[in-house]
């Protein structure tokens, strides 16, 4: 391809707008900027929380103050001024009609294609919990789920209505002092989703939560807690977007998943936070702790993630395989373009006998981006006959980007078997030529090849998400060839 053509294509990309980048103009409640015990008390009071939860927050805050920002990621992280963030922003509710959704807000979710209303019979197989800035605005299909004993609601509601469950499981997988951002989240978390599947119940529909940061200068700190009792099964999806802004906005979430004996949980994420502009200004700092525990024997947890957004992604969905013969999988596609940075991967901690895990990670870097896979596979001494297979492939598009692989394998058991392989390559001229020959232009060819490359992961996504993810991949990479 000659230089001119290349320039044209690059120009195309840079003019490619982040289509979720609109701002919704609605009245919002804020609390003052900054972080101290008073702010935490204020958040807790605004949410009418019980004393134990306030104590939990304050304890987390005190731990957080003693901790240091982690620097080990392969990331060029801007200094975060934690005093310059608004920790709570909520759409103002019309007191007369507290059960109704603000029409503006509904419009926002409509634009994003999230059906908040149950009338969406077409998309009706998915129950959605939508979180706007700090509060959860709507949870659909509540009633039909309740018939089966399934609890799916916002975190705040769960605290009010099911305090025993929340108290039992909160911070049981990600302890308060687990890491810097988990501690911060535990101190200031605003809302999120809570999901409880009773014993033996197969959730009849996919559950989905949707996060959006709208207000400027705010951070989003959502907390998701999923509990699957013995023999139950669940497919859970999560999506995220944010408006375009020149500043970096912080997103520090915690997701905890408890999988009991023979239960099966599938957790899928399509992360499309605003990635910053072509020069690397702005964008979301996505610093997330996700962890699940396969508590009982035969439990199964599967993570699937498609990461296309965020200026910086720091995220390692992990599984603790405690139950004998429990199993877990991690499927990931991470795409970085322009000046995005991603340091993402997984941890598989094998404790029980005969536990199995599988890791498939596909990194795609373009532009000036840096994309790293970081993973830990640990075979404890009790993990008799445990098995892991990891495959991490990186695809480089352009000569200015970087792709890195940092696995860590620790085996303390002579009967455990761990295999890891990684490759790094680029789209070969032969592949492009083959597609060109058959009438595909360069751009479509790259899209086709990348989708083929990521197919193993994309095919694991629930239908609705797979379509979105395939489109996202195409948009994220548009014009990045050269």
């Amino acid at each position: 391809m000659d230089q001119k053509e290349e320039d044209k294509i690059i120009e195309n990309v840079t003019s490619q707008e982040y289509k979720e980048g609109f701002v919704t103009d609605i009245r919002q409640d804020f609390i003052p900027k900054g972080l101290n015990e008073d702010i935490i008390k204020m958040i807790s009071a605004l949410k009418h929380e019980p004393d134990w939860l306030l104590e939990f927050r304050l304890d987390a805050f005190r731990k957080w103050q003693k901790m240091e920002m982690p620097r080990w990621g392969h990331l060029d992280m801007p200094e975060i001024d934690f005093q310059d963030i608004i920790y709570y922003a909520a759409p103002k509710r019309d007191e007369d009609r507290p059960k109704e959704i603000d029409p503006k807000l509904e419009e926002t979710f409509e634009k994003l294609g999230i059906p908040v209303r149950e009338r969406e019979a077409l998309a009706g197989v998915v129950a959605v919990d939508a979180v706007f800035d700090s509060v959860s605005v709507a949870t659909t299909f509540r009633a039909s789920l309740a018939e089966k004993g399934i609890i799916f609601c916002s975190f705040s509601e769960a605290v009010r209505e099911h305090p025993d469950l929340v108290r039992k499981y909160l911070a049981s997988v990600v302890p308060v002092g687990d890491n810097y951002f988990a501690a911060l989240n535990s101190a200031v978390f605003s809302d999120g989703s809570f999901c409880y599947i009773p014993k033996g119940v197969k959730c009849p529909m996919d559950l989905s939560s949707y996060f959006r940061i709208n207000a400027a200068g705010t951070g989003q700190f959502e907390r998701t807690l999923i509990v699957a009792e013995e023999g139950s099964s669940l497919s859970y999806m999560e999506g995220c977007t944010a408006p375009m802004r020149d500043e970096n906005q912080l997103h520090a979430a915690v997701v905890e998943i408890v999988v009991e004996k023979d239960a099966d949980v599938k957790y899928s994420t399509v992360q499309n936070w605003y990635p910053g502009d072509a020069e690397g200004r702005g964008g979301i700092l996505n610093l997330v702790t996700k962890r699940g525990i396969c508590k009982g024997s035969g439990a199964h947890l599967s993570w699937t993630q498609v990461e296309t957004g965020s200026a910086i992604t720091w995220k390692y969905p992990s599984t603790i395989l405690k139950g004998d013969y429990s199993s877990s999988e991690f499927y990931s596609v991470a795409v970085t373009n322009n000046y995005q940075q991603a340091d993402t991967g997984t941890k598989m901690i094998h404790i029980g006998r005969g536990t199995k895990s599988r890791i498939v990670s596909k990194g795609i870097s373009a532009g000036h981006s840096q994309n790293s896979y970081r993973g830990l596979v640990r075979m404890n001494s009790g993990a008799v006959g445990a098995r892991n297979y990891s495959q991490c492939d990186s695809l480089l598009i352009g000569s200015k980007c970087g792709a890195h692989t940092f696995p860590d394998i620790r085996s303390y058991n002579p009967t455990a078997i761990v295999e890891h392989e990684a490759t790094t390559s680029k789209i070969s001229d032969e592949q492009l030529f083959y597609c060109n020959q058959r009438g595909l232009n360069e751009e479509d060819a790259v899209g086709l090849i990348v989708n083929g490359y990521a197919h193993e992961v994309l095919s694991r996504l629930p239908m609705e998400f797979a379509v979105e993810a395939t489109k996202l991949l195409q948009v994220s990479l548009e014009g990045s060839i050269g």
């Binding site: 000569s399 970087g402 692989t405 696995p407 620790r410 002579p414 890891h420 990684a422 680029k426």
Partner: protein, 214 residues
């Protein structure tokens, strides 16, 4: 370093006079069209940190780096290797196989760095480990840090055990279990030793492997 290929073999053994074995140098430079062929052999009874950084600084530089570690008792062996591809058109291959017995702790840290614009780099790394006892442990961290796109890089790492099907095959043909295990271990390290013709060294390695098979 001369442009001709020279094979260097470092043997770290507890029998060395007063335990003063010679470790490989911690930093080496391989220039244009030069070839470095190096094998590091760590025998039982040795605890050592072996840091090694190799800079490939000229077009056509080639590195063949290999090693085995046979650890037992309370041995602690730790390799940290950095393969630094500073310019393009170079090739590096690494192969490290290790056996951990007793309550040995083995760790392998290997990093391949491909600098920006070091195009047409080929860099491969393999690390295979077998854990023989409950108390032994292995930690392997193969890493790739790549800043150029026209490269072929891969790494593979495994941690596992001796294959029982193979043992069954040999035992059903009259080979005692212990001997079968020795044969498996010899064949496990053999790819590293390909091309070495030092009979005396081979004999030492074989007896070291026999000492692990308990």
């Amino acid at each position: 370093m001369g442009s001709s290929s020279s094979k260097k073999v470092y043997v770290l053994s507890a029998e060395s006079s007063a335990g003063a074995f010679v470790k490989p140098p911690s930093r080496l430079t391989v220039g244009a069209r030069e070839t470095l062929d190096m094998t590091v052999i760590v025998l039982p009874g040795v605890s050592a940190d072996i840091p090694l950084t190799i800079d490939l600084t000229g077009l056509g530089a080639e590195v063949n780096l290999k090693g085995i570690y046979l650890s037992t008792g309370t041995d602690e062996v730790s390799f940290s290797i950095t393969m630094n591809h500073l310019v393009g058109g170079c090739r590096s291959r690494q192969l490290f196989n290790g056996l951990a017995s007793g309550s040995a702790k083995c760790s392998f840290f290997g990093k391949i760095i491909v600098a920006p614009d070091a195009q047409q780099t080929e860099a491969y790394q393999e690390n295979h480990n077998i854990v023989l006892t409950d108390e032994a442990s292995v930690n392997t961290k193969p890493q790739l840090e790549i800043y150029a796109d026209d490269v072929k890089c891969s790494h593979g790492a495994t941690v596992g055990k001796l294959n029982e099907d193979e043992q069954f095959y040999m035992r059903s043909r009259g080979i005692p279990e212990d001997e079968a295990k020795v044969l498996q271990m010899i064949s496990f390290v053999a790819p590293v030793l390909n091309g070495l013709e030092d009979e005396a060294l081979m004999a030492r390695i074989e007896s070291a492997i026999r000492s692990l098979a308990i």
